[in-house]
Symmetry: C2
Subunit: 477 residues, 2 copies
């Protein structure tokens, strides 16, 4: 398919508006709301029969901080500076300082934006979990803030903001955003597939070609086209080319539309795609949180991470650094049935027996255990610095939970995508903006890749989506 059409080939436009938005997940909704809010004429095209996308599959955790009313009500102090420090420390080897600065400093206002758009948050902290709580509580830890190497250097604050939903139903956040879009002046066309961008030979994007009811519509976008079509976890060919490790993850988190169409459209007009090899990989060993008292070992029977790290970080380390081979070893004291389905793959009356059942080299886990227990007696973990409250010596008999990519839950979505400026402008490999082209959400590269914390996708998708919407609207004006 020809993803780029030359503007000179378009002899007439079927429609002319200020801002064209492709895709109506949370990012597209943020674009539409902000752009229409400054009186731009906005036209949103959604490929499915209704908006929602992958955002509608999410429990709705949003990574926000810097001292939101919910954080304050729950008794947590936070500041933009501390949020910035945590994100800079956790978001990969070369974090995007400018974006992280904007995101941290704008976070409280962004929280209020959600509230203005009808999203309620209950000012109650849920302590027994990380990520989505099983209750309607509004605040959780959704990253590794409490774990080494962040604590105590950076004062930890929970930043996972969770919409208050009566029955913890997924999709609630997106329902609210869709209702807000419906109440705005933005116009929505569903069952509409964007087939191409229209650009001048100089690569100024003039509009888009959208197929609706079997017919091509050429839509002129005076301000710009905003790509917000999601990631590419459901495009097998792209996964193989760009992020082959993700193919080994058992669960693909993404709506059908997460097939990379926006990334391909952007690339066709010369955009850079970055961090394409990375995914968010959730390896949920908790809840219950007590299971963090176990130890995660690799194919050599070695520990490789502090087990109280956030489950996205556990997944990244297990998949990329341990070839997806890990087991969580527990004893009778520390065992409790994990909430997520996770099989007991081995048991042993002794370390030796467990090694045998797991096929580990004789004495390997035994040596790991001996070292761990010796320090655990003192509440210490000199190797990986797990927080003291999760450290207890483990005593036989032992059991091992399956944490392998091959046969347990590794829930993955892609974090790589189009490179954008802090204002949502899509950039070329040279770093220059492509006039008239904007992007938001997982069509664009995530703030963190690697180093994901839950809530960053809805967070950066809506935050930079709003900015993209404003920029595109301003360009039209």
């Amino acid at each position: 398919m020809q993803l780029l059409r030359d503007a000179s080939s378009v002899t007439h436009w079927d429609r002319e508006v200020d801002v064209v938005v492709i895709g109506l997940g949370c990012a597209g909704a943020a674009v539409a709301l902000e752009a229409s809010g400054v009186d731009a004429e906005v036209l949103v095209f959604e490929r499915a029969s209704a908006g929602g996308g992958t955002s509608a599959m999410s429990g709705g955790v949003i990574y926000l901080g810097g001292g939101t009313p919910i954080q304050s009500a729950c008794g947590f102090e936070d500041s933009a500076e501390e949020m910035f420090a945590y994100l800079m420390a956790s978001c990969g080897p070369r974090p995007d300082e400018e974006k992280i600065r904007a995101y941290s400093e704008g976070s409280v206002e962004h929280f209020e934006w959600f509230v203005r758009n009808g999203v309620p948050f209950k000012p109650v902290f849920y302590p027994d979990n990380s990520g989505e709580p099983p209750t309607e509580d509004g605040l959780v830890f959704s990253g590794s803030e409490n774990a080494h190497p962040y604590r105590p250097k950076i004062r930890p604050a929970p930043r996972g903001h969770v919409p208050e939903v009566p029955d913890a139903a997924g999709g609630f956040l997106m329902q609210k955003l869709l209702a807000a879009v419906a109440g705005s002046d933005a116009e929505l066309v569903c069952d509409a597939r964007c087939e191409a961008l229209v650009a001048t030979p100089d690569r100024e994007v003039m509009g888009a070609v959208v197929r609706v009811d079997g017919r091509e519509h050429r839509i002129r976008a005076r301000g710009g086209v905003v790509l917000a079509t999601g990631g590419f976890i459901n495009n097998r060919e792209m996964i193989r080319e760009y992020a082959p490790q993700l193919e080994y993850c058992s669960v693909r988190v993404g709506a059908e539309g997460d097939d990379g169409s926006g990334i391909r459209l952007g690339a066709a007009v010369g955009a850079a795609a970055v961090h394409m090899g990375f995914g968010s990989i959730s390896l949920p060993i908790i809840p219950p949180r007590k299971l963090q008292k176990g130890i995660l070992i690799n194919a050599q029977g070695q520990r490789f991470i502090n087990e109280d790290s956030y489950y996205g970080v556990l997944g990244e380390h297990a998949l990329y650094r341990q070839n997806g081979c890990a087991y969580l070893v527990l004893d009778d004291e520390t065992f409790e049935r994990p909430k997520a389905p996770r099989e007991i793959v081995a048991t042993g009356e002794s370390a030796r027996e467990l090694e045998e059942e797991l096929g580990l080299p004789a004495g390997s886990f035994g040596a790991t255990l001996e070292f761990y227990n010796r320090h655990a007696e003192k509440g210490e973990d000199p190797l990986f610095h797990k927080a003291p409250e999760w450290i207890v010596p483990l005593r036989p008999p032992f059991g091992a939970l399956d944490c392998t990519a091959e046969s347990s839950i590794y829930a993955a979505f892609t974090l790589g995508g189009l490179r954008t400026s802090p204002f949502g402008e899509v950039l070329t490999p040279d770093g220059s903006a492509i006039p008239g082209l904007y992007g938001a959400g997982r069509t664009t590269a995530c703030l963190a890749a690697p180093g994901y914390s839950s809530g960053l996708s809805i967070g950066d998708g809506t935050f930079f989506g709003r900015r993209a919407g404003l920029r595109a609207a301003a360009r039209a004006a």
Copy 2:
């Protein structure tokens, strides 16, 4: 800079030829020789004042096998099937089967191509090293063929073919290829920078815009433009965006021209760039080979790899999986001065003393050593399966060689680049070929990323360069 020009804006061509080659390293030379060999009119543009590029900085190891005359003369059996099996097993999580098949099956003929072009190989195997030998010997192991997990499943054969050079001078191979190009009908223009590709709105590449003597020349390429400008290790901005870990490597292996210009030109016309996060990272702990008898440990005092792995594999694991923190621990028996500058950063009369000097947790290296020695007594390495000949128990006193990215040699170049077909056609993210655009060498993605073996860059650069040259020539005819 506008890297793409619309064909309609080019009102006249300054020159019209069959094949335009951008860059004259080994890949560009292969393109030029093959295309001119089938009577295509070939014009080569080189940005520097003479050809050579990064290839001229190389010792000239070429990864070839399948039963070359040099392998046979040295008494090694090899087959295309075994070479294929090794490359499929070693070249990353999702190797390109079609390319590896072609490369393995065409390898003996490709060896002969080098000989035909004046490159001599001495039929002597050099056993004491891997990678470039310090002698004029012609055959070495240049990958992990002898190491776990390849041996004994895949019969090992040395495949590093090294040109016979009187004084082991770098650049000899490239001198020979440049002489062959000079003796061919291909025309070479130096001090010539390709500024843009010229393409139709449908993305058919028609030619290139090249700046020579301060003036733009528009060159029509009837068959195609072949991008062979090298990698991007010397483009700091691109390294930060695409391969941030490489910024921590102390040595950048690349001519000045390795600034990603070819990748950017390709991207501007809609090409996909893949494996962009990966580099070849050489962490040479040998020669002398005896140093493999030491054990490599990480920041937790744990071993993390079989030390007889190829130094490119050691570098990948140390950088990407251990955050660039590693030490090689030796005792009096196993120590010998390393050939590469590598400092002794700690010594200890006991494991405990060494831990203290290295700042490792008390007992961590001690536990590693105890386990290692216990099995080493029996010549075994149940954790990582180092080959028995390199396994001896280590006895105090100990010394540790610096193998950190921060302060020792990590020599890096990029392995990611434009996605190409097995015939050198440059591909879009959808996998379709861009008509009239070809690529070869490190402007394109390497066969192995990760999983590099030395000699693969000159190997795949020339092998697929030849194919690109033939394809472009055929398209012109």
